[in-house]
């Protein structure tokens, strides 16, 4: 009784911030020196059975007045620990899988960063019933509930500016989550940012063919054939053409872009592990690299994906690794007993994998495009939206997102122009930006799918301007 009274009085007395003490990470293996900012790792309970793992790092200065930024990696089924440990977290995993190094361009230099592993089944997140079939609307709602749960545990951040950010399939997660958040007056939503996001399957497929041809990946003959079979009257349909010849030529094109050994996440980066096959075995695991976001309407690919899901071998030991990406280091690190302990991961939580095959293959994609969600946000006239793309990514290529943002038909505020960032004393072009009322489309020159990994300074500059409402 006396204790609960004291606890109830604590916030009134202003003696303590309400962060859950049990979740605070007091010692993190691999760091040369423990950080001066606080960070927390634990679980957010959603519904009766789902436990979503979060890792929350306070801003390096003035956390109380800095915005709260939620980050979600994509997949569907991939872990936001990837964003933490390899993109813009405060410490980045080194190739040895043991050491962490402080990140000069960490996004928590200016924001409180909440990294959430969602949906259940991804990374350390799990469900007591181990049922991981889910869909877009359920995930959006559960992410919303997780955010509410986070703010229940950390009420001191409830009033801070809130931004929802994500990457790749986050292009679906973030706008659908924002639909929930914008309707909740207790949340101080200020804006959303989506990096190399999936915004429309159709536009993503169609633009990729142009991207591939004009980046020198397709020969002249294949390009001519694609034009002849997939296009009429100047309009091309590479997404779901009913022309058999188009379908056959698209198979060729898809093979080149996705299966020939090019790094789909960064055209100009090497393929980690060398030129791979589509499927390979690694120990007991069958490894697949296909996240299933492109060309969903192509008959051969559709049936292959179905088959893989039904294959007996797929029942247990299938691992889904993003292609040409080496996830050994984060896997080693996060699966070490000491790190699990430090991050308060219980024994019943699964082994950490960068992407969950289960979640990905049983995921039901309900939205084919995000126009409605963006228009709803824009209609509120008060949210800041950033759609940014590394311009050498082929998974969600910049051209597709540029077309997508154009298709929202918003009023142009500032014509497309280069944006600059400062490296040393020199201004450099970071990419290009086109600003509409409340929404900007921005490219990051020379960056692939994981923009902060490839261009950390440019990405941080962009993030800072977005968060602080400065011009790009």
């Amino acid at each position: 009784m006396g204790l609960s009274l004291l606890l109830a009085l604590l916030p009134l007395l202003g003696l303590s911030r309400a962060a859950p003490a049990a979740d605070e990470v007091t010692y993190l293996p691999g760091l040369p020196k423990q950080p001066s900012f606080r960070h927390f790792s634990g679980y957010l309970c959603v519904g009766p059975a789902k436990r979503l793992h979060y890792w929350f790092v306070e801003a390096q200065s003035n956390p109380e007045s800095s915005p709260l930024v939620l980050w979600l990696n994509g997949g569907p089924g991939c872990s936001s620990m990837e964003g933490f440990l390899k993109e813009h977290g405060p410490f980045l995993i080194q190739p040895d899988g043991v050491t962490l190094k402080y990140n000069e361009y960490a996004w928590n230099k200016i924001a409180n960063m909440l990294y959430l592993e969602s949906p259940a089944g991804v990374g350390f997140s799990y469900s007591d019933d181990k049922k991981y079939a889910t869909n877009d609307t359920e995930v959006a709602h559960n992410n919303y509930l997780a955010l509410k749960e986070f703010l229940r545990l950390f009420p001191e951040y409830a009033k801070n500016e809130l931004f929802l950010t994500g990457e790749s399939y986050g292009g679906i997660y973030i706008p659908t989550l924002a639909e929930w958040v914008m309707q909740d007056p207790s949340l101080n939503l200020k804006g959303i940012a989506v990096g190399n996001g999936l915004s429309s399957y159709e536009i993503n497929d169609n633009s990729l063919v142009y991207f591939a041809y004009y980046h020198g990946l397709l020969g002249t003959q294949l390009w001519k054939d694609l034009q002849a079979f997939c296009c009429s009257q100047g309009k091309c349909n590479f997404h779901d053409s009913s022309n058999l010849n188009c379908t056959l030529k698209m198979e060729e094109m898809i093979h080149i872009v996705e299966e020939s050994g090019l790094n789909i996440y960064n055209l100009y980066a090497p393929c980690a592990g060398g030129v791979p096959g589509d499927l390979r075995y690694e120990g007991d695991y069958l490894i697949t690299h296909d996240l299933g976001n492109s060309f969903i309407r192509m008959p051969l690919r559709f049936s292959w994906r179905q088959n893989l899901f039904r294959m007996p071998v797929a029942r247990k030991k299938v691992r889904m690794d993003p292609p040409c990406t080496n996830s050994t280091a984060p896997s080693m690190y996060l699966n070490s007993a000491a790190v699990r302990k430090a991050l308060h991961i219980p024994a019943e939580a699964p082994e950490w994998q960068v992407c969950s095959f289960d979640v990905n293959r049983s995921y039901k994609r309900l939205f084919m495009q995000m126009n409605e969600q963006y228009l709803k946000l824009l209609g509120a006239m008060k949210y800041r939206i950033l759609v940014y793309n590394g311009d050498v990514d082929m998974a969600c290529n910049f051209l597709g997102d540029e077309w997508f943002v154009d298709s929202l038909c918003q009023k142009v505020q500032v014509a497309r122009r280069p944006w600059l960032y400062t490296e040393g004393d020199e201004n450099q072009i970071g990419g290009f930006v086109k600003e509409f009322t409340n929404i900007a489309f921005l490219t990051v020159k020379g960056a692939g799918h994981m923009v902060p990994t490839d261009q950390p300074l440019a990405a941080f500059t962009m993030f800072r301007r977005f968060i602080k409402k400065e011009p790009y």
Binding site: R384, Q413, V414, A415, L420, E470, P471
Partner: protein
């Protein structure tokens, strides 16, 4: 304001010159706070008067730049008449009124903290170009900026999107507008400074070949000017007919920047030095500052100048030149007590033989038939 010579090609016949107003050493912004309003164009309505061709005045536009206390700032209301009109107005025959008013920029457009130092230019037969500093993160005079321009091709009824034609990155002492010049044949020039608040400002020119639709990269004129310090504007440059002897300019005060070839090359013209020369200014010193040149009907130039330290009066000073800006004789400088000056930039335009003046000091505009004639006593309040 007469357009002399051929509008195309280099070195139009008749030795046409392009004086650009400038000042030294301070570049000071003169407007207080956003938002910016564009009011375009001002029409002067000639009173019907014995069928004297007054109807042709329907498109005469007047410059007006300034703000009443309650307002923030105005886009310079400068729609230059392309050529001399068939009639000459007198102050009592014009009734300027605001035809329309449009918001061109507000603080926060493109997340820009503030828009200041507006310029407006006639960019073609029905085209207007408005440019302003886009101050990135604070409204202060120094700091990183864009030059933002918007273009109208229907006399200001509708405006295209902002185009950032220059970007100084994250400069601590960034770019400063500036002077705009319509150089004929659709060519536009935009002069601006960088580092105008420090010891070594540089002067740049941007060129548009197509009435402001597209812009080339900035060219540094600092070398051409022999390393002289020069911060153009704010205001607009003019094209004049007069030709005169070339004389080296001074190093201080108001200077003319001249080009005889449509803006391809530049040199310093006449200079009106501050006194005492080179010494730190004190109250009531003679310190000519931001200025605006205009051509009078007799072919001479007048330059209406900010009286930075209130020499003799809290009013504007006017310099004259009878050789196209090659010289600005100190003996010809006068002070106009009617034109109250709180030491800020002001706008002047000449059209239909009338000089229009506006500034934020006074809630009215005054017009004069020509230099030395009395200003019309009725003004037009532009503040809201």
């Amino acid at each position: 304001m007469a357009a002399g010579g051929s509008p195309r090609g280099r070195g139009p016949p008749g030795g046409t010159k392009w004086p650009i107003n400038g000042f030294f050493p301070h570049f000071c912004a003169c407007f207080s706070a956003p938002p910016l309003f564009g009011r375009c164009p001002f029409k002067s309505r000639p009173r019907p008067r014995g069928g004297g061709g007054g109807a042709r005045g329907g498109h005469v536009t007047a410059a007006l730049k300034g703000a009443a206390p309650k307002m923030a700032a105005l886009v310079a209301l400068l729609a230059l008449a392309a050529a001399a009109r068939a009639w000459v107005a007198t102050p009592d025959t014009v009734r300027p009124h605001i035809v329309q008013e449009q918001l061109l920029w507000t603080a926060g457009s493109g997340s820009v903290a503030a828009f200041r130092i507006p310029l407006l230019l006639r960019a073609g037969p029905r085209a207007l170009l408005a440019c302003a500093e886009g101050r990135k993160v604070s409204a202060g005079d120094a700091g990183a900026k864009f030059i933002a321009c918007r273009r109208s091709s229907d006399d200001g009824a509708t405006w295209g999107p902002s185009r950032f034609v220059a970007d100084d990155g994250a400069a601590g002492d960034g770019l400063s507008l500036g002077a705009a010049v319509a150089a004929g044949g659709g060519r536009l020039l935009l002069l601006f400074a960088r580092g105008a608040h420090g010891a070594a400002p540089e002067t740049f020119v941007l060129r548009s070949p197509d009435g402001g639709r597209s812009w080339g990269p900035p060219h540094n004129l600092t070398g051409l000017l022999g390393g002289r310090l020069f911060a153009p504007g704010p205001g607009y440059g003019i094209q004049v007919r007069a030709e005169g002897p070339r004389r080296p300019g001074g190093r201080d005060g108001v200077s003319c920047l001249l080009s005889d070839d449509g803006g391809a090359s530049w040199r310093l013209g006449g200079t009106l030095r501050a006194l005492p020369y080179g010494a730190p200014a004190r109250p009531f010193d003679f310190t000519p500052d931001e200025c605006q040149p205009y051509e009078l009907p007799d072919g001479s130039l007048a330059i209406n100048i900010r009286n930075q330290n209130f020499f003799r009066c809290r009013c504007r000073m006017v310099a004259r030149s009878w050789d196209g800006g090659e010289s600005l004789p100190p003996g010809a400088v006068t002070f106009d007590p009617v034109l109250v000056d709180p030491a800020v930039a002001a706008g002047v335009a000449v059209t239909a033989g009338l000089v229009f003046f506006s500034n934020p000091a006074h809630e009215s505009r005054r017009s004069s038939r020509s230099h030395g004639d009395p200003w019309g006593q009725e003004g037009l309040q532009v503040g809201l």
